[in-house]
Symmetry: C2
Subunit: 533 residues, 2 copies
């Protein structure tokens, strides 16, 4: 079959239409001329030589989608298994579960035929103690030089969760209610990681070859600053050539903007996380016995924490807004077209009122392109229900600033340290104060890149709508590291919906997002396979 064969061109036209326009069969093609065909090819920027690939897609994907639908139950079962491992990375008491989680995922990668390695990334220091980090799972599947290679990143660890925090069901037991899969890690990020495995398996299931080569980087410390990962990627895997044949990088670890319309994400805020410690005694003290006789650490800490942000969310740290990229007219316009229902957003969290008077553009800009400061809590103070009557001896206030272009983490940390030191001097307390930080830069890509266009086609194929090209308020520092390590275009392809409540009580993943997400990942791999090498 060649381009010169008329019957081939005819089928090609059908394929073009099916694939790019409306996915419905083209019934009347008898009057279509070669000119028309060529004009269509130009319209979709398709090299006629690529049409055979497109037609393979036409055959394979519908079969594959059916296979995915038929196997939905087994996908839920596997997610239940993954959620049952409480791989909470921030608390060393779950460290063994983190290691178990990595081994579990390694077994799954092996089952799909990948070559895997567990990379030791050393130790972290908590309270002066050295604690071993979970290994990073690295894998390779396929090495066909004619295929594009995608590097996939995902994480296997989760935020802490206790039923008593307000979960309706046990957080580490995946439960389906009303078409939603509730459980810690369901959407962040175990569902998406398994989504890739299921998509790969589905090709095998319909007897088709995987259209791309894959590289995997699955870590288990993402929720705790990805400790050890940057060094592994930049100082070990990159020099060893791991990224040499990588053409594209894809991360599925974020969410749609809302609940109905899919999006592809080309920007993230960074984060600068602070540990503000005040110590007044070597142990907690009985407030009856010691109250009135000591300088209490809590009142010092509360004072410092109250200096950081005002009621409206304006950050009070001197010069903090100075390096924020100025808002240009063309960027400003982008926000007006985005489909975003602020009232639904407000209602979904039952907030009495949104900031910025609920103005859509302002809300989006303050999620995506302005920094925000949140006070997270206090370690070392009473946190239990009831009336604990201690004067805590040492307390660590936790707060973070989401960073945006062009804030440099080092510069922001210095501003915060200087400000806190100044306020501490003003306080004049005899207690000990110490502040430290962990930071990651903000990230943006060009959403017009062919990689983004390929992903957009995959989204349209599954959801019959153009995705919004969006940014996010959250932070995935590894995005930048993978960009640096590979030198390639990085894309964020979310699986979950905007109301999935990652990090919060009753985290969930919609069954629809999970199953269609698996299809999306398969379609994305197909679309990328058609991009030039």
């Amino acid at each position: 079959m060649t381009w010169s064969s008329f019957s081939f061109r005819l089928r090609a036209i059908k394929a073009l239409h099916l694939h790019y326009v409306n996915r419905s069969p083209v019934t009347n093609v008898s009057s279509v001329t070669v000119n028309c065909l060529l004009s269509l090819s130009r319209k979709y920027s398709i090299n006629p030589a690529d049409l055979p690939k497109i037609m393979a897609t036409e055959k394979t994907l519908p079969k594959l989608f059916k296979f995915v639908d038929q196997n939905a139950q087994s996908y839920k079962d596997l997610l239940k298994e993954a959620v049952a491992i409480p791989s909470v990375s921030c608390d060393p008491k779950y460290r063994e579960d983190c290691v178990r989680m990595v081994h579990w995922a390694r077994d799954k990668l092996k089952e799909i035929g990948a070559k895997t390695e567990l990379k030791d990334v050393g130790f972290q220091t908590i309270d002066g103690k050295e604690i071993k980090l979970p290994p990073v799972l690295v894998g390779t599947l396929g090495n066909d030089r004619n295929k594009n290679t995608i590097c996939l990143y995902g994480h296997l660890d989760v935020q802490p969760a206790l039923k008593s925090d307000g979960w309706v069901s046990e957080p580490f037991e995946l439960v389906e209610r009303d078409g939603k899969l509730f459980g810690r890690g369901s959407t962040d990020d175990k569902g998406p990681v398994l989504g890739w495995l299921h998509a790969i398996n589905a090709f095998k299931g319909v007897g088709e070859e995987l259209p791309v080569n894959l590289k995997f980087v699955f870590e288990c410390m993402e929720e705790s600053g990805s400790e050890g990962l940057d060094a592994l990627l930049l100082e070990k895997l990159k020099p060893a050539g791991f990224f040499d044949d990588v053409d594209y990088v894809c991360i599925s670890d974020n969410y749609w903007l809302g609940t109905k319309k899919p999006c592809i994400t080309y920007g993230l805020r960074g984060i600068s996380y602070y540990f503000l410690e005040v110590e007044c005694a070597k142990m907690d003290l009985h407030s009856g016995v010691y109250g009135g006789t000591v300088y209490e650490a809590m009142s010092d800490l509360i004072y410092l924490m109250d200096q950081l942000v005002d009621k409206e969310g304006k950050i009070l740290i001197t010069d903090i807004y100075k390096s924020v990229a100025p808002l240009m007219e063309n960027e400003k316009k982008l926000y007006t077209t985005i489909d975003f229902d602020t009232e639904a957003y407000r209602r979904s969290i039952a907030a009495p009122k949104l900031a910025h008077n609920g103005d859509k553009e302002q809300i989006l800009m303050h999620r995506w392109r302005y920094p925000s400061l949140s006070l997270h809590g206090i370690e070392g103070a009473a946190f239990q229900p009831g009336a604990k009557t201690v004067i805590p001896g040492k307390v660590i206030g936790k707060f973070s600033i989401r960073l945006v272009p062009n804030q440099e983490p080092e510069e922001v940390e210095k501003l915060v340290f200087d400000y806190i030191n100044k306020k501490w001097a003003e306080r004049g307390s005899p207690n000990k104060m110490r502040i430290s930080a962990q930071s990651g830069r903000a990230w943006t890509e060009n959403p017009d890149h062919p990689h983004y266009q390929a992903a957009a086609r995959a989204v349209k194929m599954i959801f019959q709508t153009e995705p919004d090209m969006s940014r996010e308020g959250g932070s995935i520092p590894v995005t930048i590291t993978l960009q640096q390590a590979s030198g390639r275009n990085v894309l964020l392809l979310p699986m979950g919906a905007g109301d999935d409540m990652a990090h919060s009580q009753n985290e969930k993943l919609n069954v629809r997002n999970y199953i269609e997400g698996i299809k999306l990942f398969a379609a994305y791999m197909f679309e990328v396979s058609k991009l030039p090498k």
Copy 2:
């Protein structure tokens, strides 16, 4: 044997000396005249008719003290058993352990021959849920109308404790190190409760009758506001006549002022505990996704908590000091004679500096007779190690004010509520704010009461030193209730030392304080037996 027999008078003189002066044998009594004897009797306000009782003491107590020394190991073993039951009353997840603890103590009371009853005190409401309170253990031992009756109160519940809070050994496993018994509840209040049982048992052990009748009230909710107890004491036990034959009330649930000199306590501060709740959303929110778009509950709460107390510990609530009893010259003098080493106090907690420039009198007054405000912590916020990145949806700030004469709880609560409402209005946040309180009044007794003098004699017998008559900064609201219910003199007889670290990490009870405390309780019962009915 009668008072007219010279040989009896001679032995009586010996007994008087032994008992009240120096506990060393009187070797030369040949020249002692009846006048001298009568003068001695007057000096110690002894009715000559009571001398047979005193002589019985002379025989019994030395034997009993020896018995206690010989049984020290079994006392430690029983305390280990009690500490192993994690009867944390503030957290409903330990409620079954609280119930188990009460049953355990009931069995022990039965073993010493007491008649016991478990009194149902109904339910408490936590987060809108009704949770059954542990029963109160009530008991009676002896009903000899010729003997005085003491009502003993103690509590079986403890403050929360986790090894990860900074305990050297497991908090619920009693461990002896350097003559100290480390474990949650060792000194507060399981050690003292068992002390009474051991003292009672020791009388049996040396074949002597108990010199007093006893009534027991042992509860398991003291660390959580003694919920249900006041109603039981005032509305059930009192009308039922439980207190009709009670002559004295004794509570051992506090500590020496320092580590060497025993004391008897005639005053306590009250407490007014506050729950300050702010809600901005119905769940916790991802700070990346929502940061910058909502009014955060934490920043509102931190603002309110920062309005309460200044760096020096001065309470900022309007008019809060207005009803504090004025300091009179004669009271002022009391503080100068108290043996209290402020530098040792500072060093024991490793505080960089004490309040009030470490001035002894000021420190004592701010522990005993001035109110203090402590910020305890925040429920609902991040408290774990690591970098949790949530915007908490609902947070409850905890703080308390220690109340002093003549602050009335209702008046203080009103001042706090008015102040917080005013500050909240100034803040102008759209979030929901709610404040509630639990309070108990301050308490003082007259330390010159014969009951206090009897206890002082018992202390001197065991420790060969006059106890300090002290007050305490802590609060035991039941003290007032028992005073009301019985209409009798209430006395606090501490077993533990001032550095026992109740409520804090590494709570301990010195072996010496435990063992000598058992002897003290026995001697106290004897001394009270000699008081007029």
